[in-house]
């Protein structure tokens, strides 16, 4: 073993090319009973430089699945492109969109296939399950994944996740005597939590800011649509009739 370590360098040590960088930003998704919210900021940075104030990190895959990608931007964009390509072949073969739990497994295999030269990205997949429930799947760069109620990832994960643990899982809280915590939060509560998470992350983390993109996926005939009535900066992206519905809300975040 010692022999292996002590190979003498006859040449001057060359600068090793590092194929990765870190482009900042944060993503977040929360699942409700019959909806899912997937959000990300739009700043892209490297070191202390802001490269652009608008580079989307959240992508609509189908009318029931939205993918947020954070980490090394070049890997992220390529990964989304490849996932979309696989979904297109699925559509060719089956004339319908791939269900979200299948997309989640697909993403796992795609990430793990690069186990020894990973996509340096944290993925969060949100949407509506075939049974109509809201879903969030989160992944590590090499494909470990699980279904959860909420997840934050990226630069400000350490700021946002504890806040979510407290507000969504009610960690470190005790219900008032004779009451209990709600099983699922309403859409309007979730939207407020997401917006507050990002304004706070923008305040405290230099890599978060500029803009917020928040995708909302609603199950078929979801009554949650009521809470979207007067949301500022919202537009609908739904492609199908009488199915799930997709909305996006765009907001400004502080640019400093």
């Amino acid at each position: 073993m010692a022999d292996m370590v002590s190979i003498p360098h006859s040449q001057p040590q060359q600068h090793q090319f590092n194929p990765y960088t870190e482009n900042g930003g944060t993503i977040l998704a929360i699942a409700g009973a019959d909806f899912s919210v997937i959000a990300g900021d739009t700043r892209q940075s490297e070191g202390y430089s802001i490269q652009t104030r608008y580079a989307p990190k959240v992508f609509r895959l189908t009318d029931k699945a939205v993918l947020a990608v954070n980490g090394f931007a070049a890997d992220g964009n390529m990964f989304v492109k490849k996932v979309r390509q696989r979904l297109e072949w699925y559509r060719h073969a089956h004339a319908k969109d791939m269900p979200i739990r299948a997309i989640a497994r697909l993403i796992q295999t795609m990430l793990y296939s690069r186990r020894f030269f990973p996509y340096y990205v944290y993925n969060i997949l949100g949407g509506i399950e075939e049974d109509g429930t809201g879903a969030v799947y989160s992944f590590d760069p090499v494909g470990s994944y699980e279904r959860e109620a909420c997840r934050a990832a990226g630069a400000a994960q350490s700021l946002v996740q504890p806040f979510l643990d407290n507000q969504i899982y009610f960690k470190n809280q005790t219900p008032a005597p004779g009451t209990s915590f709600p099983g699922h939060l309403s859409l309007s509560t979730v939207l407020s939590l997401v917006i507050d998470s990002f304004t706070s992350a923008t305040e405290r983390h230099i890599e978060v800011g500029d803009g917020l993109e928040m995708y909302i996926v609603l199950a078929k005939n979801s009554p949650s649509i009521q809470s979207l009535r007067d949301i500022r900066g919202m537009s609908e992206l739904t492609a199908t009739e009488d199915g799930e519905r997709v909305f996006v809300v765009r907001r400004d975040l502080k640019k400093d």
């Binding site: 600068h15 090319f17 194929p19 960088t21 490297e46 430089s49 104030r53 090394f72 931007a73 964009n77």
Partner: protein, 234 residues
């Protein structure tokens, strides 16, 4: 065509290098600027190098980083444009398509650990729309109304943003030239790998125009008054 056919995984380093490239969107299209210097380390080796290159009828690419890699990029893009031209069916590649293609090449080369050592700006104007985007040796891409590579990202980008953001549709060509000139001047004063000779490219509905080399007039008399470091110690 065999782009990056070689899977030579020995990492290299840039040898003859260009410094910053600047670009902005203005009323009529896109403007780009880069000086004429190609350095060999700290030696100002070639002082009449063109770092802005037209690709097809609607696009200009500007390069910082390794100049031989840039020449290789010019070569295969030329090949691509010829292939596209020979199909003679009225379809041609605009700046967005060229940028996408370039990004794929840059990303696939970085994935082979054999990067093309450049930071590139792609600017263009086609079908009434201006286009401006960045790609580098890692395959990282982004777009904005003002872009700058290399030292320009630190020295010129703040000036460009202040002057251009929110005024993209009002800025005239004259104003854009003035902004570019002042940024190039800042770069020449502070970037030791820069030159006071540069070119401007404008891409508008009229097509691509790359200027003759322009000279920056600078004053150095203030240097006389500097005390406390360097040769003069008092």
């Amino acid at each position: 065509m065999s782009i990056a056919a070689q899977t030579d995984s020995c990492p290299r380093q840039p040898i003859v290098t260009g410094t910053s490239v600047l670009a902005l969107k203005y009323k009529d299209g896109v403007m780009m600027a880069a000086d004429n210097l190609a350095s060999y380390g700290s030696l100002a080796r070639f002082k009449d190098i063109q770092r802005l290159h037209p690709v097809g009828k609607y696009t200009v690419i500007g390069a910082g980083g390794d100049m031989s890699d840039f020449q290789y990029i010019q070569k295969f893009l030329e090949q691509l444009i010829i292939e596209e031209f020979t199909s003679q069916d009225g379809h041609d590649l605009g700046p967005a398509q060229i940028h996408e293609y370039l990004s794929q090449v840059m990303y696939s080369r970085r994935s082979k650990i054999n990067p093309l050592w450049n930071s590139l700006l792609v600017g263009g104007f086609k079908d009434g729309k201006s286009f401006l985007s960045y790609v580098d040796l890692l395959g990282t891409t982004y777009s904005a109304t003002t872009l700058a590579t290399g030292f320009g990202a630190y020295l010129a980008q703040p000036i460009l943003r202040k002057e251009v953001e929110g005024r993209e549709n009002e800025l005239t060509e004259e104003e854009a030239i003035r902004i570019m000139e002042s940024c190039m001047k800042v770069l020449y004063y502070r970037d030791a790998r820069s030159l006071d000779k540069y070119q401007l490219a404008v891409i508008t509905a009229d097509g691509v125009k790359i200027s003759e080399s322009r000279h920056l007039s600078t004053t150095w008399s203030f240097a006389e008054g500097i005390r406390g470091y360097g040769a003069q110690t008092q």
